[in-house]
Each structure stands twice: as structure tokens, then as C-alpha cells.
Symmetry: D2
């Protein structure tokens, strides 16, 4: 839940939703669902709807609240909708990359909203190009769109199944067609996707359960890996289109991505974070006067640590809420004050021994300045505790973490990292600890970034862009 | 050369250009070429370039001078470029419709800039959709792009030829590929397209010869109907890909569209307009004190009429140059003053007998108010002369004229039109007169809007949009 | 009527209007009046209205059509209005300089729209500062506003008269108060200002009579130098607040500024321009095949020359209407083609001897490239004729011409200028010729830029800006 | 620290700063100081600088990070600067109201940045208008500017003192002149203002000490009520220009406005908030399972309550960080879900007895929906505790609270409020409790909104706007 331009955090790719809501303002419901998924991507937002005949779309760069107004919402007619909010994994923030994509096909209009990343995109692109399809972007989501447009089968059900046979990697998709919306989850279940009902006969799918609450929907269940859900006038129809692979929900949904008020696999995300903090306290106790979290994402972990350790929880860092995107850089004097522009220490740290809890460390660029701030504010000791294991391997399933070279834990051991960031002690949650809390790896989660064991084959290096635009 | 929102004129679809210019700033040259073609479309502009490996693109809504700046020009690297400036025939002005289109294909990057309108778009779309290609817009230019991406043949030459076998209607195309740019003209030659050399080994194609002059290029010749020109390191290569059909250059290029300083089929456009005015004077003489033209497009025709008739040429109407696009409407009082916001009569018309020359009348909505203005300013007689025949049939080759019901000459005869617009006499140039000046119909021009004889089969009604966006 | 960024023309400061129009949409009328005065300034536009109690204002940068929309027009309630359209004489185009100014005073709201330039601004500023008034800009129009706010007298009539006693230089003012609008012209009458009636009991004042026609008003008469007109429920009241000085209407209103369809001092501007051209033909005949004017401003002068000389009038240069404001500069190759981006020669100049008529030459930067263009197009001889005398002295009354050093005729004699711009012959209208056509200097016009005889004392150099903003 | 469009909080008017920083990039320092004061106003931001001769200014609407870029910062030369960030108390957000104001006066440039509200503005305006000064806005800050411009005295020191004699109410001012910047605090000290040193010979004044830390300055002391500080090449000079009145620092600076990491009157704001929470626990204990705060402003109060009561502190409500400004309104269904768009309850509240701590209640519009949310999430009991006394009286010193009619505690007693918002119990901090923590009323704080005892005479109703602009 932090600002991409400053944070040393993994970055989630997207939030998606799908609605069948007859007799409702389906665009407005989609707007508020996206609003609740805003933490999953702040770079663009879009909604596509269909009235059973014609499809409509509006999308734009920026926050959901910025992209939509009464005028463009009003334009989005119908009882079917899909929505998307995006964090770019590819750098440039440009309108052509905004989703949903909406095209015309032999079966009528087709809209796609995609969360995740295919791992065999280069091969799939090659197939499409050989089939004589021109591709207008380097996005794997356009690849999905054209694959569905040209897949064998005279029904969307057949075509989606055909697509799933070919696609490897992470995809939680919502799909708009003339008569139905679909929600589809890859056989590994890398990214979350759940179902709900709207009072009366409405149906909704969304990346997180918290979005259901926001629009007054009732949570039904998560979509299973490899499952397709169709939401239409016939109600909710689901079927297992592919056998579920070894389940591999991304561990970082628990650690950082998902909203704390969401429920994943039947568990409260907020509660899991408190438990991670508590386990961390067991594994790496400290003698200290106060436990503080790096705001805002590590607050729950810090509270868990505090309860378990009986060290009082406190606030130690204030985060500037109004930071916006600025290109103004501090000059040298200000630079020496480092991260103080985003975080400010409270004045009552004088002489205190501090446990500083963070949810994760990626590049290690933020931790050092925060520790320096605490010391400047008078902290006598700083013991850093991280509520996830060291990140040593890049993600190929759609999370923007960093290259292997940038990952601090891929280069340095814990002792060296402690020195690098200037703490008196440093403790990471163990992989075992993580497994005990969120379930063992052989069971149901992807922890490739910690362990290097990828659930699907991955290839280093991606298809070269053949064109660019500005 | 008038503002779309006020003018009672046919509207041209686009201007295109293509350049091979090693050692030059090819994007800057394209910019100035588009600048010179601005009169052919003011709604969007774009340039795509290629450096032999990667292709680059920038496009946007508005005038060429508004869309481009040093930053985005600088981004457009390479020695190959195509450019496009657009007038929308489809109403909404939206970025996704801006050209060039740029896609990746099995043969590498492919860029398209299109002037014209295919007459068998619905059938071509159906073919593409059946082939499993999803289409992102209702534009026939996207259809061309995907047809080329999927055409049989392993070279662009083969693919362009294959496309030409299937496409009916008007297309002056410029095409960007990794190693060459192409300029292609349909077998009827509906829209102009010509070739030039840049000093040294540069080559250029553009809709009008005036664009060559602006960038310091030397006119070579027009591209022949059915011909393809390739511009690349091997120099200029041209071949007849299709046998030329009955040539059918749009007559309105002479009458109104082209810049007066352009040369078409070896003839100065400005001189043809003077000759049309002179012929009009022979066919429809008048006893009057002054000849005036409706500014700015009919000035040459009026000068021709004046010289032939020996009635002095004068200025009678002043046109507000700064009119911009406004949505402010006059209220009833101002509405009774009609067109006075755009045109103002000069005060020395008192008691004068006026010959008012216009190049064409489409709906007849502007002529009446202009005549009323002249009378209000004291003109004792107004004799209207139109330097083209009555327009009685809609255009299907990419000119936005009006529906048949809107064409005043399709509903009323000349006598009725004269009454409707309130003139003392009205004379249209005869079809024979037009033929004598620009060449007979069986020879080389499309005059379907006057005669109803279409050079290609046309079908009333177009494919229904399957989706909309806002 | 040319684009400030390219033209070698003197630049007028502003257009103003004032309306009393009970029962009308006074803001909409003002909009169309400003629309008709757009040629007098394209940098900002504004309207202030008053409903007898509260005053309202909207202003912004850009064209009138850009600044106003239905929403902000609707906000401008009342039956009294003033309007302003501005050309900046001071370089930076900034919103704080947009007019009208609207302030609260002890007598209620006060709005000011000003065309002209005071010549004793530094002294007036000093007086205000000494009186303890802070000034928020370097504009002389703010000085006028604060002078009126603090002038002696309990009525606006007294205060305006008191202001006129102190102010020297050019001011055609429109003033908005709670109960009336006023139109005020300086005792020299430097800038035009005229009165009209709107059907029923409406009244209007405007810089030019052409604006009256546009809104359906009837021209009554010009406001006399030194006169004040009050427009309110009591009808039109005028009185001579100052004795008229030696009248000194700016000659350039006739030569270039005013719209050709305006009437000044009872004479059609267009007709005066034709007469200037005819006199020029008498003074500087030429043996040639065609007379052309530099578009658009010199067309009338060229027609006058052609009629008088019996050399046919023709078009020789086409002006790109869509030029916009661009910061893209030609590179060296294009630069050698010079002015070709704005003007293009017609192809039928081959072997022709051309008389090129322009209305004036200021810096001489445009003429040379135009002549080169004509020669490149094949003209065998180019005889330049200028329908005004050489400009040798800067203007201090609000016209942005150039510094003395920049004025080509202040540095070079006619022979040298001819050489500089590369013509076969060059002839300027004589001062006597100008006098004969528009009236002798001792009579009623300012011709200081030709003669150096300023009607008011002027001081070189202006008050130094004490602050800047961006 | 919440978004004005949603929050039921009092709203602070502004943050100000002043710097003398020779050899530094004074504009960049000002930028970061304003950045740190952003929580005091998000509607506009501005900086004015002076290089000893000329003054420069840039200001705009929106966040500090939005208003400034390298270009406009670079323009702001000099070693003296003042800055301002604004929350509008008057509704419309418009550029003319952005501060600082910068004018020219008889003593040179004068810039003003103002935090507070004068209580005798109508009388002061009347004086200025009678003196013949026109006023361009309804802002009391423009009144201050013109009062200083016209005050008796030949030095700024004399003039500022003269101004202070006449002005009543709240003003923490920073003032830019050619040779010095000044920081001035009204005799009551309603709004905070403190002094610091920059390494070397730099000096800074700012609304809050947290801004000093951000730019690497060292806190010196607060400016005393009635004191003037001059910051210039002679160093820091301070003097008591007016005898301090009964000190009256706004209590809400402690309760809500100031950043928790600021120090006021020698006390950590964060610590005071914890103490207020602890006192609240003593006054209104509860039997409960968890203490939660309304995020983000009540977190410290809640932690204080939790520590004192030994009830565990927890998170119960998640606040959407990306809320932006939206005009999309929920429809009826969504409206029944009320505040859920901004806040979401965590799922583990099931069966819990909750103490909900807020810092204050103004209109009572937010509390009810939050309580409903908690109950919906399964809370079995909700005991609301408010860390300030009931607000029963409006503020006239620049805090935008509400009219008396809107204040819920002015209409209802505590029992009724508890019923209105649907809590099991409700306890407000007592006035005595507040006094005990932050000091007794007769001592040094304004608590007029609780007690109705205003430190200065106030008049209901303000000067009617005489004009509006859009």
C-alpha cells in the first residue's frame, strides 16, 4: 500500500472484477469494486460493459477516482461488466497498455482483464504471428485476447478451455462477452480470485474478498485453480476446465499485497500478518522498549510481534500522506537526511531500544535510511525484524520485484545485510516459520522468491520489444 | 481549407507521407511534410519511424503543430518514416483512431497510414474475424493492417499484392517495414500520391506535391493507379502490382481538396481552378459590378471568372481567421444574423450587383446566410455561380459529403435551389464544362457525386459497430 | 491578422467592448463581440458582468472560443458587461495579465478593460505607491484600476474625469460599475472606440464597428477624443470630459490593425486600403505581369494597386491556415528554404514579372524569404511595393513594433533595404501619399512611427519590473 | 490528516514558512519545508523569493509536489523566501486565492503568507476602501497586504507594528521584503510559528517544528505571541511588538492539526495525544476486548487509551489510501453501506467488544456509519471514546469547523449523540481533562469551540462578497 516511486516492495500487477448485475448500475458497482482494489495498481483503470448487444469501454491513466466521472460512467450501459486496475510491470505508463482490452471477434465483442503474467509468452506470440495476427503491443494480455479470438471452438467455453491448454504461468482473468462474464483462474492459482452474490440475482467475481464487501456483495467462495466461472442470466455456473496443478498461491498476497480485511483460503489476511509477527517474535526475540512497524504495511506484523513479545507497541515513524509524485530531488544537504521526506521519526524515541518490524526487504534501499532516522531521533538500539524470509530469486509470475542482482539477499548474507543497513540485530522469519503459518510449500503456495523452486518452468529473459511508442 | 464544424464542404479523409532519408532527421522532415498536408485533416497526426531494427511511433489528437514537440520527435529514430494527418469520416475524434497504426508481425514491425475508404470493408472484416483475428476498432485501416499481417507470402511485396487483390475502393497507403517504406495506390487512383527525391539519396512519397516543396524535395512523378513504390537503400523501385483499372482520381481534389500550389496529373491545381472559373463565366455570364469569391477556397475560381468576364474582382466577404472550435451557440437574435460570425461583408457593397463564386454546394446551408449578408450590406443583386456541377450522389470512397437526403441538389432543381438560397440567378458549372477542363469521365476521374456512376460497386449501409468507447 | 510568432507586423494591444443590454444574455453578446475583435489580440480573453448588485468575471488564456463555454458564460449574470481580448506587449503570456480587472472599491465593484498604453506610467505608479497602494503587477491597466479606486469624487463620473486629468497616452477604456458601463477615449483618440444601439433599449461600445455588426447592433458614431459615454438604464449619455487634444488616431488602424469591414472616421477601412494601393501604384509604377499581395493582410492594397495599374491581380502565395504555434524548428536544410513553412508559391509564376504588395515592413525579416520563394518558383522579376511609409521610430502608445534598432528602415535607406531583401525594385508609399489618403498629420492621425513627431511627450525606457512570476 | 471531502474534522487553514539561506537553493529548501507542512492544506501552494533586488513567485492549485517542478523552482532566485500551503476556508478553490501574495510597494516588493483569520476584517476592508484602495478578492490576506503597503512608517518594522495595532484575530505571518524576511505572530498566539537555524548562517521560521527537521534545520524556539522575528544578513532579530495578550494557542493543534512529530510549547504532540487517550481511559473506562482508533488521526490517542486501560490495542478499520477526490456517488444500495468506501472493518472483530477512539466529533456524520460497519463486521459492543470535549461553538479564528447548527454537540447532549451514532456507550474527554493535559484555559490555550469563551471579540456573519469569478 505504498507509493511505487519510493517503496522497496514487490509490486502487484493488477486487480480485476466481473459483474452480472441486472437492474443495477453495473458500471457504478464496478467503479466501487475497483476503488476497493486500488491498492493492487494505481497506474490505470478501466471498465467494459455489455448490454447483450453492444459493448462499451472507458479506461484511462491514473487512479480509479481520477479516470471515471458521471459522464463516462453513464456511457457504460448493460448488465455485464469487467473492470481492471493496473500496476505496470514493464516500466512505461501508457494508455495503450491500460485494460480491459475490448475487441470484436467472430463470436461478438470480447473484453479481457488480466492479473498475472504468462511464462510462455514468447512462444505464444510466435504462434500468433505465424498465424498471421499482427500484435499492437508487447503485452501478454493482448496475446490472451487474440488467442481467445482465434481459439478453436464455437463457444467461449471451448475457447477459454483451449487457451488454458496452451498458456503457462499466472492468470486470473475476467472476460466479457455478449451474453456472459467469465472468471478464470490458472491451474496453479497464482493470483487470488473469488466469487460473490449481489442481493437478488446478481453475481460478482473479484481479485479480493474486500471488494465484495465494498459493493455490498456476499462472499461465496474462491475460484479454484483451473476453474472457470460463468456469471450470467442462468446464474453461477462453474466447472473445472483444467485439473488443478500443485496449488501455488503467491505467498506475498498474505505478506503484503492483499488488503488486510480480505480473506484468502478462509483466513483473514490481517490475522495471518499478526501471526507472522508473533512467529517472528518467537524466532527472533529482542530486548527492547518499543515495537514499531514501518508504516503502513507492517503495522499488523508489528502488533503481532508486540503482543507475542510483551514489548509495548508504539508509533515511531510518521508517514507523509500527501507525498504525491514529485520529480524534485533533494540537494546534497537534504540527501544526507535521506528518507526523511517520506518518513519522520517521533520525538519520543530518545534513549529507547526499538524493534523495527517490516514485512519484507527487496533491494534494501529504504531500510538503511529509516534506521538512520531512528538513530538521529535518539534511539539507542534498533533491532530489525522482517516478517518474511530473505528474497533471493526473481518472480516470473507477474510480481515486479527486481532483477536477481538487485535483490539484497541474493548478494549478502543476513549478517552483511545487518551491517549494510546499520542495525544492532536483524532477524528474518524462517521459511519454516512462514510455512507453519500459511501452510507448507508442498501444500499450496508459491514461495519461489524465497526458495528458488518455481512451480512452472521459467526462462530468463523476455521477448524483445519490436517497437516502442511515446 | 475551412473549419469542419462550420463548412458546407466535402471533407477529405487524410494526408499521408513516407520517407527514406538516411543521414537526415527523418522525423523532423516528416513533421514538416505533415504540416504541409494539414489542410487534408486536422483531427489527429502521427509519425512512425524505423531504424532497421526497432520501430517507434508517436501520435495524438489535434494539429500537427500541437501533437509534436522536440521531445517526442527526438524519440523517433531511424531513416525510414511514415506520417499521417487525419480527418475523421466517422464522427468521434478519438486517439485509438489516430494513425499510423503500428503492429508486430511475423515479418517484423508493420506501420500503416491510409487515405481513402474501402468499399468492401464488411466482407473483409468478416474474413478476418473468421480467421480468428480480433479487431480493436471499426476502422478500415485496422482491417488493412491485419490483412497485411496475415496475407499469404513471405515478403511484403507479395503480401501487399495479395491485399490489393482483395481490397476494393480507395486507398493511398504508406507502409513502414523494417527495411523499407512503401507507397501504394489503388488501381483506380482515387486519391493522389506522388514521389520525390531528397537531395542525395533520400526518397519521399506524399499525398500532394506541395508537401515535397515544403521539405525541399524534388517532385519526380505521381504513383500510378495499381502501382507499388518501394523506397529504401536500393533506391526507388516501382512496379505495377495490379493492372490499372479505369482511372478515377477524385474530381474534388481539383475543385477543393488539394492545395492550390499542388500539381496533379501535370496540372497546377490553382490554374485548373482559374480555368473552372473562366468556363463558368462562359456558361453562366452575368451583368454585374464585382466578382467575389467565398473565402478562402473559391478565390481562384472567382479570379478566373473575373478575368474571363472582365468584371472586376474584389473582396466582399471577410472571414474570421481566429474562429477556433466553439460550442457557444448564438441565441435567437444572433441566429437571425446567421453566418455573420464566420463571415462579414465589406461595407462598400452598397448598390452593387455581385457575382458570388463558390467552388461547390453540398447541403446548401451556408449559401443562403452568405447571400443574406451581402444583401444586408447593400448588394442590389446577387448572382451565384458554382464552379462544379450539382452534387446529387453520396461518396463511398472516403469523402465525407452528406447522406443523399442532405444533398440539396438531390432534392431540389437549380431553380428551387436559387429560390432557397435567395439569389437573383444561380448557375452551376456543367458536367461537360468540368470534363472539358479536367478531362472526360471515361478518361480518368471519379465524378460519381455528380453523375451517380460509381467506378466500383458500392453498398448502402455499413457494418454495425459492435462496441463503443468513450 | 497574422500569427504573432511569425509575423513581421506591428502588434495591436487589445480589443474592448461594453454593453448595457437589459433582457438579453449580455455575456453571450459580449462573447460574440469579442469574437469579432479577436484579430486585435489572441492571448487572453475575459468578460465581467454586473447584475446591479454583484459583479461576475471569467477570463483565461487563449482565443475567445477557447476561454468560454456554456458553463462559465452562464455564470456571468446581469445586464451590464465589459469584455477584453488581449495581445501582450510585454512578452510573457500569463493569466494575471488577462483583463478585465475587477476589484471592489468604496463605490462598489469596478471593472476595467483597457486598449492602449499610458506614457506616464512610471510617475503614476510612484504616486500610487506613495499613497500606500500595493501593486500586484507591472501592468498600466492595474494602475488605471487603482487610480480610479482612489480618485477624488463620490461618483464614477468625477473619478473618471480626475483620472483623465492625470493620465497621458493611449487609453480606450470600458468600465463596469454597479449601475452603468462607461466607454472612455483619451483626448488624442489614439485607439478607436465606437457606439451602437441594440434593438430596443440596448447600448454597446466597442473598439471597432465590425463588432457591432456581428452582434446585430446598429452603429451610432465614434466616441470623440476626450469623451466619456455612460450606458445604462437612462440610455446613452455622453459628455466631453477633457477638451480634445490634437486628434491622433493611430494610422496603422487603417493600414493593418482594423478589420477591413470596419468603418473609421466615416471611412471603410477596406476602401482606404484599396486607395493606399492605388496611390502606391501612382507613386511607384512597375512594368509587370501580375500583382500579388502578401496574404492575408495586403490583399486589399494589392487589389488597389492592380486596378490602378491595370496589371492583373493574381494569387501568388498560399498561406498555411493551420500553422498553430509550434516550437519545432527546421534544421539547416529546411532553414535554407526559409519561410516556406508558412507561405508556398503557386507553380504558375514561371517567367512572370511580379509586383509584390505588402502593407508594411517592420524588421524586414519576412520580406527577404518571401522574395526568395517567388524567385525559386520562377518569377523573373520581383518589384516590392509597400503601402505605408518606412517605419523609423518606435511606438510608445501601445503598439508592439520593435525597438528602434530592430526597425530596418531606421538603419537602412530604401536602396539598401531593396538589396537586403533581394528585390528588383522597392517603393514605399510616401508620407504625403498617406496623408492624402487618410488625412494630413496636422489634422487627425498619429504617424509618429513614420515621422518621429509624437503627439505626447514620451520617455525612452520604462519602469523596471520589481518582481516576476512564473 | 484526512481528505477534506470526506472527513468530519475541523480544517486548518494553512502552513507557512520563511527562510534566509545565503548560498543555498532557497526555493528547494522552501519546497521541502512546504512538503512537510502539506497536512495543513492541500489546495494550493506557493513560494516567493527575493535576491535583494527583484522578487520572484510561483504558485498553483494542488499539492506542493504537483505545483512545483525543476523549471519553476529554478526561476525562484535569491537568498530570501516565504512559502505557503493552503486549505480554503471559503469553499471555492481558485488560483487568485493561492498565496503568497506579492506586490510592489513604496518600500519595494512585499510578499505575504498568512495562516489564520482576522476577526475584524469587515472594518479593516472598509478602512482600505475609504482610503481609495481597490481590493481584488474577499481574502483577509489581501487586506493584510494592502494594510502593510499603506501603513504609516518608513520601515517594515514600523509598518508591521502599525498593522498589529489594528488587526484582531489569528495571524501567523511570514513576510518577504527586499532585504529580510519576517515572521510575525498575533498577540494571542492562536496559530503556531517557530524558529530554527540552518547550518552556517541560515535562518528559518515555520508553522511547525517538523518542517525544520525535514530540511535539516535545528529548532531554536517558538515565536512568542505578539513577537516579530526578522531573518536577514544581520542574523536573527526578535522583539515584542505588542504586549502578549492572554495566550490562546488553538487546542486543536494538539488534538488533531499538528503533525505528531512536531513539538508545541516544548511538548511532543504525539505524546500529548497519548496522554489525552490515557486520561480518556481514566475518565471513561470500558470493559472490552480491543481498543481501536479511527485511522489515521486517532491512532496515538487509541494507543494511549490501550496502555492506560490494559486493553490490547489493535487494528479494526482499514483506510483506503488511494481514495483521491471523486465525484462519483454511491447509489442507494451502496449508500446504505455508508462509509465503507473509505473505511473497511477487519474480519476478526467477530464477537469482540470494541473501544473505538476518535480524536474529535464535529458534525457527527462519520461516526454513525463507522459504528455500523463495526457491528456489521460482528462487533458485539462498541464503546466510543472521544479524546476532546464536545464541540459546541464555531471558530472565528480560521478553523473551518461548521456552523453552530451543524455541530452535533450544540444540538444534542451526550446521551442523544450516543443514540444517534448507535454506540453502547459514549464518553468525551472532559474540559478539565483537556486542561490538565495541555494546560488550563486561563493559562495559554484557546478552547472557545468547547467553552464558548472567545479570546477576542467576534461577530457572527462576514462581509458579503461584492464580486465573484469563475
Amino acid at each position: 500500500m505504498t507509493c511505487p516511486s519510493f517503496a522497496d516492495k514487490p509490486q502487484e500487477a493488477c486487480g480485476v472484477c466481473a459483474l452480472y448485475a441486472p437492474g443495477c448500475d453495473v458500471a457504478r458497482l464496478s467503479f466501487f469494486a475497483l476503488y476497493a482494489l486500488q491498492h493492487r495498481g494505481q497506474e490505470s483503470a478501466g471498465i467494459a460493459t455489455c448490454d447483450g448487444r453492444v459493448a462499451y469501454i472507458h479506461k484511462g491513466l491514473g487512479l480509479v477516482s481520477h479516470v471515471f466521472n458521471e459522464d463516462n460512467l453513464h456511457h457504460l450501459q448493460g448488465q455485464l461488466a469487467i473492470g481492471h486496475t493496473r500496476y505496470s510491470t514493464t516500466g512505461a505508463v501508457r494508455l495503450p497498455n491500460a485494460q480491459p482490452y475490448l475487441i470484436e471477434t467472430a463470436l461478438g465483442p470480447l473484453g479481457i482483464a488480466h492479473n498475472g503474467n504468462l511464462t510462455n509468452t514468447p512462444a505464444l506470440r510466435r504462434d500468433l504471428l505465424q498465424r498471421g495476427v499482427g500484435l499492437g503491443s508487447s503485452s501478454d494480455s493482448e496475446v490472451i485476447t487474440q488467442m481467445l479470438a482465434g481459439a478453436p471452438g464455437q463457444t467461449w467455453e471451448e475457447r477459454i478451455a483451449a487457451f488454458m491448454q496452451q498458456a503457462h504461468g499466472a492468470y486470473s482473468l475476467t472476460i466479457l462477452t455478449r451474453q456472459a462474464v467469465y472468471a478464470v483462474r490458472d491451474p496453479w492459482g497464482f493470483r487470488p480470485l473469488c466469487l460473490g452474490t449481489l442481493n437478488g440475482d446478481g453475481l460478482v467475481a473479484a481479485s479480493e474478498s474486500s471488494a465484495l464487501g465494498t459493493i455490498g456483495a456476499t462472499f461465496v467462495r474462491e475460484i479454484k485453480p483451473g476453474e472457470i466461472a460463468r456469471l450470467d442470466a442462468a446464474g453461477l455456473t462453474t466447472w473445472q476446465a483444467m485439473p488443478a496443478a500443485q496449488p501455488a498461491l503467491c505467498s506475498f498476497e498474505y505478506i503484503y499485497f492483499a488488503r488486510p480485511d480480505s480473506v484468502l483460503e478462509g483466513r483473514s489476511v490481517h490475522r495471518v500478518r499478526r501471526l507472522l509477527g508473533a512467529r517472528l517474535a518467537q524466532e527472533h526475540p529482542a530486548t527492547a522498549d518499543m515495537v514499531i512497524g514501518v508504516p503502513d504495511s507492517a503495522t499488523a506484523h508489528a502488533i503481532g510481534y508486540a503482543h507475542e513479545s510483551s514489548i509495548p507497541f508504539g508509533e515511531g515513524l510518521i508517514k507523509n500522506r500527501y507525498i504525491g509524485r514529485t520529480f524534485i530531488q533533494p540537494d546534497d544537504r537534504l540527501r544526507r537526511l535521506g528518507v526523511a521526506i517520506k518518513f519522520n521519526p517521533l520525538p519520543d524515541l530518545q534513549g529507547k531500544r526499538i524493534v523495527l518490524v517490516d514485512d519484507s526487504i527487496v533491494r534494501g534501499t529504504t531500510s538503511g535510511p529509516i534506521v538512520a532516522l531512528l538513530r538521529l531521533a535518539g534511539a539507542s538500539q534498533v533491532h530489525m525484524r522482517v516478517a518474511s524470509p530473505p528474497i533471493r530469486h526473481p518472480c516470473f509470475m507477474g510480481v515486479d520485484m527486481a532483477t536477481r542482482e538487485e535483490l539484497i539477499a541474493a548478494r549478502l548474507d543476513v549478517e552483511q545485510i545487518a551491517q549494510h543497513i546499520g542495525v544492532d540485530s536483524l532477524g528474518y522469519l524462517s521459511q519454516q516459520g512462514l510455512e507453519d503459518i500459511i501452510g507448507p510449500e508442498q501444500d499450496n503456495h508459491c514461495r519461489a522468491c524465497f526458495s528458488g523452486h518455481y512451480p512452472v518452468p521459467v526462462a530468463i529473459g523476455a521477448a524483445k520489444d519490436m517497437f516502442e511508442s511515446s
